[in-house]
Structures are given as C-alpha cells and as structure tokens.
Symmetry: none
Subunit: 135 residues, 4 copies
DNA sequence: GTGGTCTAGACCACG
DNA sequence: GTGGTCTAGACCACG
C-alpha cells in the first residue's frame, strides 16, 4: 500500500495513516473486500510502531471503513451496513454535510464560497474514481 | 469581537482564535489600524485561559497580522501585507470540503448522494441566515 | 469514582472501565456536566497503566458519553447533541434496539422471552435512577 | 445444523458456535443422543478453520453438553445433566438486554423512549417471522 | 496540571 | 500468523 508520511507536518502519524487509507478507499484504489496489509506489516513498511498502525486501523474500523477479523486479517468494508433502515444512511450523510457547512459558516465563509469549494473538490473526486475504474 | 469557539471540535482553542481573527481581517470585518481587545479582555469574553489568548495573539503577531504594542494595546496591521490571506482562506476551505467528501465516499456513499445531501443542507442554512438578517 | 475491576473475569480491563462508567452515567450516579477523574488519577486509583485508562476514556468519548477537553479535564456529556436533526435520535435508538433483538433471535431466543427479559432489566434501571435522584 | 455466524460482532467465532449449540440443546432442537456433524464437516459448512470448530466442540465436551467418541462421532449427551442450561440461557439473555438498555441510557435516552423503540422493533420482527413461517 | 503521541517489548487469544 | 491487551516510560501540546 502506498502511503507517504510527513514527519514534519505536525499531524500525528496515526492520523496521517487514517486519512491516507480513507482517501484510497474514497478514490477507489482500495476496493470493498480487498485485504489490507497486516498491522505488523504496515508498521514495518512505514517504519512506525505496531501500536501506532493498530491505532489507525481501529479508527478506520470504528468509522466503518474497514473490518478487522481476528486471526484472518483486515479488509475494506462493503458500503451500506444499515440496509434494514436505509433512512439512516440519509440522516448520517446529511448530518455530516450539515456539520461541514456549519463549521465553514462559523469561520466566516459565505455560502457561495462554500458551494464553489465543494463543487470543485467533488469534481476532483469524480475524476479520480473514474480513473480508478479504468485500471 | 465576535468569535465562536467549539470546545469539542478537536481543534485547539488558540488555533480557533487565530483562524477567526485571520478570517475577519481577510473579510474586512476587522480593519487595518483597528484596536483588538486586550489579552485579558479577550480571555474573559471567550471564557478561556489568559495564556490561550496570549498564545493566539503571539502567533498572529509573528505572522504579521497584528501588532502588539506594550502598554498601548493590540492593533490590526496595514492591509498590504496580508494579501496572501485570501489565498490562505481558499486553501482552508477547500481542504475542509475535500475531507468531508472523502469521508463520505470512504463510507460507501455515491458522489450523487453526497451532492444532493450537501445541496439540501446548504439550502437550509441559506434560509436560516436570511431569516436571521430580518430580525 | 467507585469502580471494581475483576482481574479474573477474562473481560479486558479497559472494557470493564468503559462499562463501569457507562453504567454509572446510565444510573444517574454520574450526572451530565460532572467532572470525571483525570486519566492519570483514574489509572493510579485503579492500579492500571495510564494508557489503559486513556483507552477507556477515548471509547466513551467516541460513544458520546463523555467529553475530554485538553488541559481542562474530562466531563460527562449532556444528552442530545443532534438537536438540529432530532429524527436522528430516533433512528439511532431504533437501530440499536433492532440489533439487540436480532442478535437474541439469532441465538434462538423466542420473542416472548426477549420481551420479558427486556422488561425486567428496564424495571431495574428505572428503580436505580429513581433512587439516584433522591440522593 | 443451522448456525448463523456474525464475523463482525466481536464475539469470537468458536464462542458463537458453543453458544449456538448450547441454545439448540436447551431448546430441544438438538435431542439427546443425536449425532452432530464431524469437526471437518462443521468447519466446511460454516466456512471456518478446523481448529475453530474443534475448539468449540472441546468446550462443549468439557461442559458435558456433548460427547466426542473417537472414530464413532460426536453426540448430544443425555438431557438430565444440563438442566442448568435453562438458567444459563436466562442469564445470557438478561445480560444482553441489560447492556443494551445501559448503553442507550448513558447516551441520554429516556427509559420511555427506549421502551417505545424496543417495542416498535420487536413488533417488526414478529411480523417478519410470522411471514417467514407462511413461506 | 491536563490530555496526546509514540515507542519498545511482553504475553495472550483466535483461526 | 493474525489481531488484542497491557505495561513502562519518554516527550509533546494545551490551558
């Protein structure tokens, strides 16, 4: 797994790992069901402590991005786990988007700016995912 | 000075103050030469430790946004020097939106769903702000 | 804070702490806004490592039970944090109850048994909370 | 033998097998003297490691629920010895319901809300099962 | 003084 | 071989 760590960024290592994996899943580079490196393997590969790698994985697991299975390994999770109440999906998503907007507004950004920035980044992700499917 | 702090956001308080002041200067709410509250005053107003307010001011001073003059007070510096702030604002905003989208994508939401949820919540906030201005 | 650990139960220490705190919050012994012992303090009190105590607190924080504030301490959280979308509360609660029932059914328990056990335990908690309010 | 495993429940697979068999014996679905699948067969059927199936059988044997006879097969033991299973079932169920309620209470839900949500979901499941029986 | 990050290393539980 | 738990201890960031 390709992951670059920046030791001088100030962002904690475990968080860099979390974001790195999250982005690869978001981009489609890592697909649902795909196996991730083991905790030990990732730690060695990145030159960090096992506990640090484990911490990152645990956060990703809690967020529903990956699934760790004792003795078997760690895997990218399939999307919708709340099939029986799929209103839930909508609420979760809207809550997240709402928080994101509220935060930007509270920092003094105008709705128009927020809309433009969002559209720009979404366009970026769409491109990335399209490219991943062609691989 | 109007500043909203979020004690549970994870972002350190001092940094929230720094960003808040930066944005107000960039937006023109705080004008060059304008006097800022004293460290003590700001700390009381926001209900934070004096060291926290001081730390924020020191960073703003180091970055050339404000000027602390011993015994006289603290002032917004002349505008010409922080034209770069507008670029900074864009980066901050896009980074936030990017993370928000990546988060949702990595949990299996489709770009289209994300777009719809975002649009819905933004519409909500626009309504809220319009109503507030009429008060 | 009163917490008993059982070193021979097989249940990990950090989880025993999580459940202990959770139960006290549920019972009303710990009230919203109340300050919990510091990470270090709790560790010393229970004779466990700081990291173990921290791990328990972090889980409780993620679950919305407590709020850790850097440099200030750790506090019991007020109930509803999703006021802006209070449909969400209902969905979260129903999802949890649903999972609980589904799990019991899959283990071969009959609906009637499940209903009876649930009613019995809820009665217990109601009594406990009533007692706490009289303190 | 009908057994549903949940790879993401956190409960170890071997324990899920143990509990599943225990419950079926207690409920009478598996009768005294009845032959159980071989270790190999069970492992294949459930898609688990042979060691995992073996571990479950050893625990059940130790607890006097089944009897493994080398070269002949594995059988459910005579009923008189596990009258205690019925008490065990109750404890398991009540513990689960208790945790579920404590969880919800500790997040600020009121007993009344919890009761309503539980009743609603149980009603749902009863309907589902009734429909399934007509298939 | 509070919580946060990270390492090194031991030993355990599961498959 | 996989992940899980726990300790001991260092050093950092925040208020």
């Amino acid at each position: 797994m390709k992951l670059k760590l920046d030791g001088e960024s100030g962002t904690p290592v475990y968080r860099q790992i979390v974001e790195g994996v999250r982005h690869q899943v978001a981009a489609g580079t890592l697909e649902p069901g795909e196996r991730l490196p083991t905790v030990r393997g990732l730690a060695t590969e990145l030159g960090v402590d096992r506990n640090t790698a484990l911490r990152a994985y645990r956060i990703l697991e809690r967020d529903g991005v990956i699934s760790m299975q004792h003795g078997r390994g760690t895997f990218v999770r399939a999307g919708s786990k709340h099939a029986h109440l799929n209103k839930h999906r909508q609420v979760v998503l809207e809550t997240a988007m709402n928080a994101s907007i509220a935060h930007a507004l509270s920092q003094g950004f105008a709705p128009q700016e927020i809309e433009a920035a969002f559209a720009k980044r979404l366009r970026y992700w769409r491109g990335t995912r399209r490219a991943a499917r062609k691989d």
